[in-house]
Amino acid sequence: MADAEHQRARLRDPAEHGESRLALLLCGPALLLISAVALFPLLYTFWESLHLHDLRMPWRGRPLIGLGNYTEALADARFWGALGHTAFFAAVSVSLELVLGLALALLLQRSFAGRGFARAVALLPWAMPAVVVAILWRFLFEPGGAADALLLQTGLLARAPAWLSDAQLSWVPIVLADVWKTTPFVALLLLAGLQAIDPALYEAARIDGAGPLERLLHVTLPGLQPALVVALLFRSVDALRVFDLIYVLTAGGPGTATEPLAMYSFVALLRNLRFGYGSALAVIVFVPTLLLALVYIRLAGSSLRQEQR
């Protein structure tokens, strides 16, 4: 039946049939490789999360325990803590990055001497390894470091706080490091969005007597919406899987006060060697990312289809 349909399709459009074969030839190797190293392992992580698998106790084997690892997570205070830290970090850093990124994009949009240089400087923090960024900001917030000196010399603080040994204050260098690393990049994305807005719209708004604020609210922001949504999605996906930055900056400490979910999963897997439980945590990290990815795919898909018409 399917074969007959295939035959008919082939008779109707031989060119399309040839394109399909060429597409298979061109895409095959890349897709096979991605499937082998990414798709198959992802499914395996889910399968592993349904087992009790402790590499330190090989004699216990690898029995299937259904959702046992997930119910264990629900009763694990460290899991809830890590989940909260991840959500908090993502919410705070992504909001700051979007607001500051928009401001920086509006500044970079103006033409001025040295604009190319300014854009290149803005790319620098983004191109650096997160590990190096973490080290820079740890250095700035060490006792007696530049952050303390700045706050004391300007008289903003009378006494330097112990940034890195306080559960709440430890978030300050972490969030600042992430904002420093990615805001300029968000700005460059939004700058591309700004340049896509038709200048005639600004002219029309000016003729209608709109001030700068009104032009921002009624021309810039609506025109920028697609770029803002893309930036929001990508930054959220990235923030929800945060690992390197916190691992090096605070090592999740003091104690586990800044430990994100991806890091707790890593500790369960490769420090405690509890592969079943660690896999369950890894699956939990994956779920919100998948949801955001689906939203993005819907958006990107519809814009691709529009372009094809």
Binding site: E16, E19, L26, C27, P29, A30, L33, I34, A38, L39, P41, L42, E48, L104, L107, F112, G116, A118, R119, A120, V121, L123, L124, M128, P129, A130, V131, V132, I135, F139, L140, E142, G144, A146, L150, W180, P184, F185, V186, L188, L189, P212, V230, L240, R241, F243, V248, A262, F266, L269, F275, S279, A282, V285, T289, L292, A293, Y296, I297, L304
Partner: protein, 271 residues
């Protein structure tokens, strides 16, 4: 723009650029100060320059070996991904075939998923194959993020390439494959170079897989993170290592910033 507001905007821009550059300047000053004076001077520049940390760094050799490992892993991954990803991106951009949309969605989804979610099976699999702490043992995991990135960046480029040239060649009787090899490939050389550069940077910076799957053959980010240690951080040397390992990437970015921005923006972008 109205002249009155320009000074204010200029001031804001100056402040933003200072905020971007200042941490780097502090790190540079720190790497050039004797260890004992590191947290003494406040905001002032150090009185005299001291190259001891850099000398120790190069005498020790750990960082140089790490740079070698990183170069091999990042270059192999980049070659593999651009080589296999470019034809795939071209097919996704130009050919009509069933399942094209699903394929695009799949590539994007893989680009977005968290690395930790495949660490358990990759660790078990690599251990089974005896590939822990080997070059293939890092290149294969790196393909998971580098291949979707390559495909996505090149897809953005191929879609911008005017199809008329290819159509004209087709009318003249050239096969699809010939068009691809003789017309599209030379036209895409700059895009391939930009994509390779970005893929290389992502591989160079990667940390979690390197931390999970290597012991002795440390990559640069891993070597720096381990240099920091848990207690009594040798700050001067750590900062020197951080700056030395970032310098080549920084130079590439400064040289090719226009191309990089274009590539990222047209490719749909990954932070």
């Amino acid at each position: 723009m109205s002249g009155r507001r320009v000074p204010l905007a200029g001031l804001a821009l100056g402040a933003a650029l200072t905020a971007i550059v200042a941490p780097l300047a502090f790190a540079l000053a720190g790497s050039l100060s004797p260890e004992a004076q590191l947290f003494e001077g406040g905001l002032a520049a150090p009185g005299s320059w001291h190259l001891g940390h850099y000398r120790m760094l190069f005498a020790d050799g750990t960082l140089l070996r790490a740079i070698g490992h990183s170069l091999i892993v990042a270059a192999s991954t980049t070659l593999l991904c651009v080589g296999l990803g470019a034809p795939c991106a071209y097919a996704l951009a130009r050919l009509r075939f069933p399942g094209r949309g699903a394929l695009l969605a799949f590539v994007l989804a893989v680009a977005m998923f968290p690395q930790i979610s495949i660490v358990p099976p990759l660790y078990l699999g690599l251990r089974e194959l005896g590939l822990i702490d080997t070059y293939p043992g890092l290149v294969l995991p790196y393909v998971t993020f580098a291949m979707p990135l390559t495909i996505w960046l090149l897809l953005g480029f191929f879609r911008q390439l005017p199809p008329e040239i290819e159509q004209a060649a087709r009318v003249d009787g050239a096969s699809r494959l010939r068009v691809l090899l003789e017309i599209v490939a030379p036209l895409s050389a700059p895009a391939l170079a930009t994509t390779a550069l970005l893929t290389f940077i992502y591989c160079w910076n990667e940390f979690l897989f390197a931390l999970s799957f290597t012991l002795e053959r440390q990559t640069v980010p891993l070597a720096i993170a381990l240099l920091r240690g848990q207690y009594r951080v040798p700050w001067g040397q750590v900062l020197a290592a951080a700056l030395v390992s970032t310098a080549p990437v920084a130079a590439l970015v400064l040289l090719f910033q226009r191309r990089i921005v274009q590539g990222l923006v047209s490719g749909g972008v990954k932070g």
